[in-house]
Each structure stands twice: as structure tokens, then as C-alpha cells.
Amino acid sequence: MTEHSDTGSVFSSRKFTDFATVSEALAAKEIGASFILAPLAMNLVDKGLPVKVVYLGHRDGTAIVVRKNGDIHDFRDLAGKTVAIPMRYSNQNILLHKMMKERGMPYDSMNIIELPPPEHPTALAEGSIDAYIVGEPFCAKAELDGSGRILAFTKDIWPEFISCVLVVRQDLIDERRDLVQELVDGIARSGKWLDEDPAHRLDAAEVAGKNYYFQSPELLAYVLSRPLDRVKYTHLAPLKDDFDEIMELAVEIGVLPRRVEFGQYADTSFVRTDGQEPWALDRLPTGPAAEAVR
């Protein structure tokens, strides 16, 4: 995220290592917006935190990872195994239950544990878990380390999978609508730029790896290109049908205590439809890889 936008508004990012702390920072108004897990956003609203989902962070970008030379080759093989998820209030948790349900497996078929995302690859390598499901780059990390193997990408088992969403505090929506719109436009514009040319993804890997993720650019380049649709940055409007499906499953498995209406936790008024975008893509900064293909 850039410090200054085209209009001079200042956006800055703050890195967190777990979702519980992000939630506290939102409640304390230390931050005005954040990318958090979709079911966590629903739960925070249910608990009374005044935030709204205004956009998605990405689509797909999650995978089930197993030990490289292990004996797990099918989802059913996870029965009786220990599987890590990033958080109880994650769509990764819901996906595991969705798949168990579709295959007629009891919900207690596997031992599901919560682990912060950065700890997943290490726990798999050490043998304290048998598999994990989490967002990138922690799936690719185990692949590149040689300890893990992808059992399934979400793009193949729940296409257009939603993991993280952008939530904004209600007071900011009420008082600084222009700033929120600028943020959403910036994310939409960046996503369009990323998905329109593979070379742009390599440039983004370089910048994000060094300045934001503090991960090797090679790892992020792998995530963004092997395969190209491993994670997608377009179609980021929060759609009611998608969220209703998550909500139904979350309530069924007890992740959420009750249904929350879409309008209570989502505000789609910042989404621009085709033709409404005020930006020009050629105004975006370019890097060496983008230049090389021009």
C-alpha cells in the first residue's frame, strides 16, 4: 500500500501477526480498516463491533498442504489426522467441514487445531501436525522448503474461495466516505493491474516481499505465478450469495452462534461496476518486469 494516494490522502499499513490482535486494534480505533478473515468479520459484528465488510482482499490463494512423502493422497485420508487452521473464525475451518459433509464424514473425523499462519510450515516439518490449510505464502513455503505438498488448491475445491476481507470501521464510513472509497478504488485498481499481466505479478512480488511481507520475493513470485490462478485479485465485490453460503455453514458447525443478515456486516456501496472506474491503468507505477514486456 502506498503512503500517499494520487489525491494526497495518506494510507499506511500496520503489520500484525495474529487476527485476535487485529480485532482489538479495530475495537480500540488504533486502525480504521483491516484485512481479516471473513467469518471473523461476521463474528465481530455479531458481538457489536461497528465494522463493515466493504471489499475482498483476494479470491482463492489457500491450499491444503500435507507432508511431502506422507501417506495422505486424498481428502478422506485426513481422517484421524491433526490438521491446522489459522483460526476458528476462518473460512478455511468452514471449508474443511464443508468437504467432510460432502463426503459423508463426521465433523469430528479429524483433530483440527488453531495455529498462527506463519507457524504452519514449521509445525508440518517438525511432525506436530499432519496437514494444514492456510492462505499463501505459507503453502508455497512448505513446497519450496521441500517439506510439504499441495493436496488441493481452493480454486479446485471451492472456486472463488473467500479468505480475507477488507473491513472498515462504521465511523470512518460515516465521516470519511471519500477516504474509504479511495482505499477500495486503490485495491480494485491494484487487483486489475495484477491480473492483467503476469509480469506485473513479478514486480509486485519484488516490492511486497521487501517492503511489506518481509518474505523472499522469490517465494511471493512463486505464489503469484505457479500457477497463475493460484490467487486472484479481481472479482473482489462482496457478493451476498457467497457470504450467505459461508454464514449458513458457520452457523451449522457452531462457529457463529446465530445468523447475521448480510446488510448488518457488509456495505457494497463502495463497489464500482464496470465502466464506473475513475482510474486509468497507465497511471500505475511500473517496474522492471512490466517494462520488459512492453
Partner: protein, 53 residues
């Protein structure tokens, strides 16, 4: 007597305002808001994230 009531009310108002800023708002945030209001600082939006997609 009237003077004492007015002064007492103003002191109470000042103290309760200071306490509110100290406990609920924060001096840094107030100063930043004031700078934005007077045009010496651009509006700032802090966005949280985890280094995971």
C-alpha cells in the same frame, strides 16, 4: 456566589474534558485530528494486515 458557581462549572468542564481526552481519545490522536482540521496534515488511514493472503 454566582461567580463561584460559574468558575466551579468551568473548572469541572475543563477537568472532565481533559480526563476524557486522556482516557478515551488520546493526545496524539487529538493533535493529529487538529492538524488535519487546520489543513497542516493530510487525512491518514491506517490499514491492518497479516502477511498472509
Amino acid at each position: 456566589m454566582k461567580f463561584k458557581v460559574i468558575v466551579g462549572s468551568l473548572v469541572w468542564l475543563a477537568l472532565i474534558t481533559l480526563a476524557h481526552i486522556q482516557l478515551n481519545v488520546g493526545w496524539d490522536r487529538l493533535a493529529s485530528s487538529a492538524r488535519v482540521m487546520f489543513g497542516t496534515e493530510r487525512p491518514r488511514l491506517i490499514v491492518g494486515f497479516l502477511p498472509v493472503t
